[in-house]
């Protein structure tokens, strides 16, 4: 229910009075001093009034509907905790997806909250300001509902307890962290294209729908509830993203090349982050919803295709890395899970080789690639593990300077060859995993020379606990890094087969079914 004002006024007019009409152009201070970040990116805005409000929601309706969602959600969270709902999930392997979520996604919901507060302060246009600030509120909601929902898992399973500490430190978490840091440190317009449009509109369905449906498929009412509840805000966010890109493009023809370059960059940055989702869908869910490949076809190829078709009238082209991403869909998840299998000692969740039934599913979903390229690897690992030699990689990987993912990605047309790309800047070599990342580096080297690359930081000696002594005989650098990460050795990391999580889950489940 929106504010009931004069019956004569329509929704749009009413909303105008409630938002835009409140704003004015300052005269005691210059516009440039009040909104100092509006010019340096080169985007030209002539008339902020032309922005189309995505949803016309006043604060009273916002409070009312959001409070209703919150009441429902917390009722479910409470019931889930009281009833030991965690014991109803398919098996404890599933819980590792939640650890990935809490450490990798939740802190970035918070980053989005701060980012939208920033642009919500900086835009001189009242329409986008208000929409951005509502999104900022929504994003802190998402961070908090996730922390609260997963709090009960944290009480019973290992690997959730240090999410805050780990987000700023652990090697693979620097992938999503650097993504959001990159967006927030960019200018306000680029942030909107990066997060508001490229991430929220083009890629968010690939992130959340699989996670939430995964929760539903695996009996996790708690995670399903927070996921769906968060998604209900997402339609507002997606619409803001679409309206803002259209608005910028309509304002001035000079904006097109800038926006296109940002789209190329942020599609690729976002796609690299989704690597984690691909492996989650295909390898970490005991009961799978759909394959990464199927999700990519529905949400990227069909839906994204329709979107870029629609934007073509502004001169926007499909982002640069699009066709490579479409080629990768047969390979991405398999290659990615191998990275975590390799470095399973350094991650705060458990890893495992897929079992025979899992491989049947993978083979059916990836008829052209799984048996040919990937099955022998998992079979080999299983054999080694059965003989007491579970493979862990003990040497640190080379990372991409831009996306920060270990350099496992293969050439677009040859899944057997790792792609290496090299640039030189100010007399030093920089390495990237792909044309997409190299392109990003070459455009803004001043930015990416600053990357806090976890592997390099380890070698610089910045990732050991204070009491560690590298000069002591028998100093084990990997073990010390893991300690600095706040990962309990043998408890939070290593193979699922030997984990406390597995043992506890089975014991507790047995208590539920017997005496």
């Amino acid at each position: 229910m929106d504010m009931k004002v004069s019956k004569k006024l329509g929704l749009k007019e009413r909303y105008n009075l409630m938002t835009r009409d409140l704003a004015w152009t300052p005269t005691y201070q210059s516009v440039k001093d009040a909104f100092p970040y509006m010019e340096y990116e080169g985007i030209k805005i002539h008339d902020w009034e032309k922005f189309e409000d995505p949803f016309r929601m006043t604060m009273d309706s916002y409070w009312k509907y959001q409070a209703e969602k919150e009441r429902k959600l917390y009722a479910i969270i409470d019931a889930f905790a009281q009833n030991n709902g965690h014991l109803g999930v398919t098996d404890a392997r599933y819980i590792n997806t939640l650890k990935l979520f809490l450490t990798g996604i939740t802190p970035n919901e918070y980053m989005a909250h701060r980012g939208f507060a920033h642009v919500g302060r900086q835009f001189p246009g009242a329409g986008p300001r208000v929409a951005c600030l509502m999104q900022s509120l929504d994003e802190i909601r998402h961070a908090q509902t996730q922390i609260h929902s997963l709090s009960n898992y944290n009480k019973h399973y290992n690997g959730f307890q240090n999410w805050h500490h780990q987000h700023d430190r652990v090697w693979f978490l620097s992938v999503p962290k650097s993504f959001f840091d990159d967006a927030l440190t960019a200018g306000p317009f680029e942030f909107m294209i990066a997060i508001g449009f490229a991430f929220e509109y083009v890629l968010t369905n690939l992130l959340f729908v699989p996670f939430i449906s995964g929760a539903a498929y695996n009996g996790d009412m708690g995670a399903m509830a927070f996921g769906f509840s968060a998604q209900s805000d997402e339609s507002r966010h997606m619409t803001l993203g679409l309206e803002i890109i259209k608005f910028i493009l309509e304002q001035d023809p000079d904006n097109l090349p800038i926006v296109q370059a940002w789209l190329d960059k942020w599609f690729w940055r976002g796609y690299r982050v989704l690597t984690l989702v691909a492996m989650m869908m295909d390898y970490m869910l005991p009961k799978r919803v759909m394959s990464w490949k199927e999700a990519w076809e529905i949400y990227a190829e069909q839906n994204g295709g329709a979107l870029f078709n629609d934007l073509a009238r502004y001169g926007i082209k499909v982002p640069k890395g699009w066709s490579q991403a479409c080629k990768d869909k047969d390979h991405l998840s398999h290659q990615a899970w191998n990275v975590f299998y390799n470095y399973g000692a350094a991650a705060p969740f458990h890893t495992w080789a897929p079992g025979e039934k899992d491989m049947e599913w993978l083979s059916a979903k990836y008829p052209d690639t799984f048996d040919k390229y990937y099955r022998p690897l998992w079979t080999h690992y299983a054999k080694e593990q059965a003989e007491g030699r579970r493979f862990y990689n003990g040497t640190l990987p080379m990372l991409c300077q831009v996306c920060q993912v270990p350099m496992f990605f293969t050439e677009p047309d040859d899944p057997t060859k790792i792609a290496y790309r090299e640039s030189e800047y100010r007399g030093m070599k920089y390495h990237c995993c792909s044309d997409g990342c190299k392109h990003i580096f070459d455009n803004e080297p001043e930015k990416y020379v600053q990357s806090w690359l976890p592997v390099h930081q380890i070698y610089q000696g910045n990732c050991f606990p204070e009491d560690a002594d590298p000069s002591r005989p028998g100093f084990n650098p990997l073990a010390e890094v893991v300690r600095w990460y706040g990962i309990g050795w043998g408890r939070d990391n290593l193979d699922y087969a030997d984990s406390e999580d597995k043992k506890n889950f089975e014991t507790w489940r047995a208590q539920a079914t017997g005496n």
């Binding site: 004002v5 409140l22 604060m59 919150e70 302060r121 300001r129 802190i140 650097s178 440190t185 990416y448």
Partner: protein, 330 residues
């Protein structure tokens, strides 16, 4: 097979997240406010400097001169996280909605005393722009502040101000019409009585120190203005023409009580941290108290005539007393 999972008695491995347990000093169950607030903001190893502020890290405690050893000491006594925040405001809006409904359905607006109506429209309607300015400032504090404990309620307060601007808009439309909103904006932009206040608001927009902005906006401007508008002016109008306006501004009056608890607690904790903080907060308060007081004098007069000056002094004194109690040398 139906499994009754409730029957399983499990001893949890731990009660809360490690960073929360460290703050609580023990591994014990923590409130949702604490779990959803403490240490939620990233603190280390930022990858890139902001292109809009290369001098600072993305989140950087040096964006204010105030110094805190632990920014999470600035907790919100109301313990608002998103869930409790929206539910608290939803209750308030439900009451406000009922009040607006009542005023409308009983024809109270039409029957309202015309002189009081004029005063209400002339005084309250331009305040929607002050609230808009406050919304900008709440966003600023949230964006560039440090630590979720303080940035979170700053955004909540900023969004509350947007809601307040919208309630004032409805007040204008109910007691008057769209033309009164236009006239109010015209006055805000040009009428001499409002220019001092508009200048204050625009000056707060260019402050770089977010904590000084907190003192300017949340302590001085909100403190004095809300005291004047929703206590002093409200009382006079109520006496003169009945409680219609009180009903239409009840949200603001309740909100001011609520937010005062938080603002005072923040100032108190920040001042108690060090003599330097106390000194700094005192300077900021003195500066903005003076600016706001001066700017509000013609506005108070506009609403209350000759009684305006005394009403304004009472509003200022009330904030002085609060700040004194919070530890500032006032």
């Amino acid at each position: 097979m139906q499994i009754d999972l409730r029957t399983v008695s499990i001893t949890p491995l731990r009660q809360t997240y490690n960073h929360v347990a460290e703050r609580l000093g023990a591994d014990k169950p923590a409130s949702r406010y604490i779990e959803g607030t403490m240490d939620v903001q990233a603190t280390h190893n930022f990858h890139y400097r902001p292109t809009w502020d290369p001098e600072h890290e993305l989140f950087d405690p040096r964006r204010t001169r105030l110094v805190m050893k632990d920014w999470y000491a600035l907790k919100d006594p109301r313990q608002l996280y998103y869930g409790t925040y929206t539910q608290a405001r939803a209750r308030m809006q439900e009451v406000a909605e009922a009040d607006f409904e009542f005023v409308e359905s009983r024809g109270l607006a039409e029957r309202f005393d015309d002189e009081a109506r004029r005063t209400a429209l002339d005084f309250y309607v331009p305040l929607r722009h002050v609230a808009w300015g406050a919304n900008m400032n709440g966003a600023f504090q949230c964006a560039y502040g440090y630590g979720t404990a303080i940035t979170q309620p700053c955004l909540y307060a900023g969004m509350d101000q947007l809601g307040i601007a919208q309630y004032l808009t409805r007040l204008g439309l109910l007691l008057g019409n769209q033309g009164d909103l236009e006239a109010g904006k015209q006055a805000w932009m040009q009428a001499p009585a409002w220019q001092g206040l508009r200048r204050v608001v625009e000056d707060t927009w260019v402050l770089k120190d977010w904590f000084e902005l907190f003192v300017a906006q949340n302590v001085a401007l909100d403190g004095i203005l809300f005291g004047l508008a929703y206590r002093e002016v409200d009382a006079v109008l109520s006496e003169r023409a009945g409680p219609t306006v009180s009903m239409l501004t009840r949200f603001q009056a309740e909100w001011f009580q609520d937010v005062t608890k938080w603002v005072d607690a923040v100032v108190k904790t920040a001042a108690a941290e060090s003599a330097e903080n106390k000194e700094l907060l005192g300077q900021w308060y003195a500066r903005w108290r003076g600016r706001v007081r001066e700017a509000l004098a013609p506005v108070a007069e506009l609403a209350l005539g000759a009684d305006g000056a005394a009403a304004l002094e009472r509003a200022v004194a009330a904030v002085d007393a609060r700040m004194h109690k919070a530890g500032l040398a006032v």
